[in-house]
């Protein structure tokens, strides 16, 4: 990781920026780190009011489910927002998350027959599947220009 002259990394500087990280708000990225991507798709942290953080969820069923995890989630939220003392789950509309742009998704391609023959010689099925998957993604990547 590259460091600036004062020794801090870009990530550290971004984390300290009060505009990007207001002290009473959790970014969606931070929320995803706390609950994992599957739950983050169905919930968003909203406002912090009198030490209670409101979590907006997509349905009453999710509110009920996540309330079972209140202690676990609260412990993890407090690592990022120590002032939070309670969580409130509220059903509402989930705004799409604001996330940094991602690279284009790579669509895997079929593995050539010659490589498939070689893979067939690998006894361990898990390893064979993993190598096939890796190759199919790798072959789908744009090839660098050939040097003369």
């Amino acid at each position: 990781m590259s460091r600036r002259r004062d020794g801090s990394t870009l990530a550290e500087l971004l984390a300290q920026n009060p505009t990007l990280n207001p002290p009473d708000r959790l970014s969606w990225v931070a929320w995803r780190e706390i609950v994992g991507s599957k739950i983050a798709q169905r919930s968003r942290p909203a406002q912090l009011d009198r030490q209670a953080l409101t979590i907006v969820v997509s349905s009453p069923a999710w509110a009920q489910e996540l309330s079972l995890l209140t202690t676990t989630i609260l412990d993890r939220v407090r690592t990022k927002l120590p002032s939070v003392r309670a969580l409130r789950f509220q059903v509402g509309h989930l705004e799409p998350p604001i996330t940094p742009p991602t690279r284009n998704r790579v669509v895997p391609v079929a593995v050539p027959a010659e490589l498939e023959d070689r893979l067939a010689q690998i006894e361990d099925e898990s390893l064979r599947d993993l190598l096939r998957e890796t190759a199919s993604f790798s072959l789908a990547l744009p090839q660098p220009p050939q040097r003369r």
Binding site: G36, S37, K38, S59, E65, T72, I73, L130
Partner: protein
């Protein structure tokens, strides 16, 4: 009371915790947790389970591949499998059932539904 063993395969620790909470309502069920399909297979290599619950979308090895592998293993080919899918995961559900899953439940996990499905597949009254 007879004891039953259950393998829960889910990569999200919090989602896994919710499934384990739900299964906790069935007192004679011993739950083992796995992080993904590969971890699940590792556990299946050393132990047999009475029932398997697996998520579909997982890194390294997803639930569909896990079902394929389980169904080709003579020791586990008859083990009931419940897949956990998202509300919109109709295609995944159909593929999972085609590959040999016995039932599905959708997220968010509803404890009564989980218990009812497990009890039906284990023929518990």
């Amino acid at each position: 009371m007879a004891q039953y063993s259950c393998l829960v395969v889910e990569d999200s620790p919090m989602m896994r915790q919710l499934v384990v909470f739900a299964l906790g309502r069935q007192k004679n069920l011993h739950v083992t947790e796995a992080d993904d399909g590969v971890d699940g297979l590792r556990k299946l290599a050393s132990t047999t389970f009475d029932i398997i619950l697996t998520d579909i979308n997982m890194p390294i090895m997803d639930g569909l591949k896990l079902i394929q592998r389980v169904r080709t293993d003579p020791r586990h080919k008859d083990t009931p499998i419940i897949v956990i899918t998202t509300e919109g995961g109709k295609q995944d559900r159909e593929r999972a059932l085609k590959l040999g899953a016995n039932a599905y439940i959708t997220k968010p996990i509803q404890a009564p539904q989980v218990i009812q499905t497990v009890r039906e597949l284990l023929h518990l009254e």
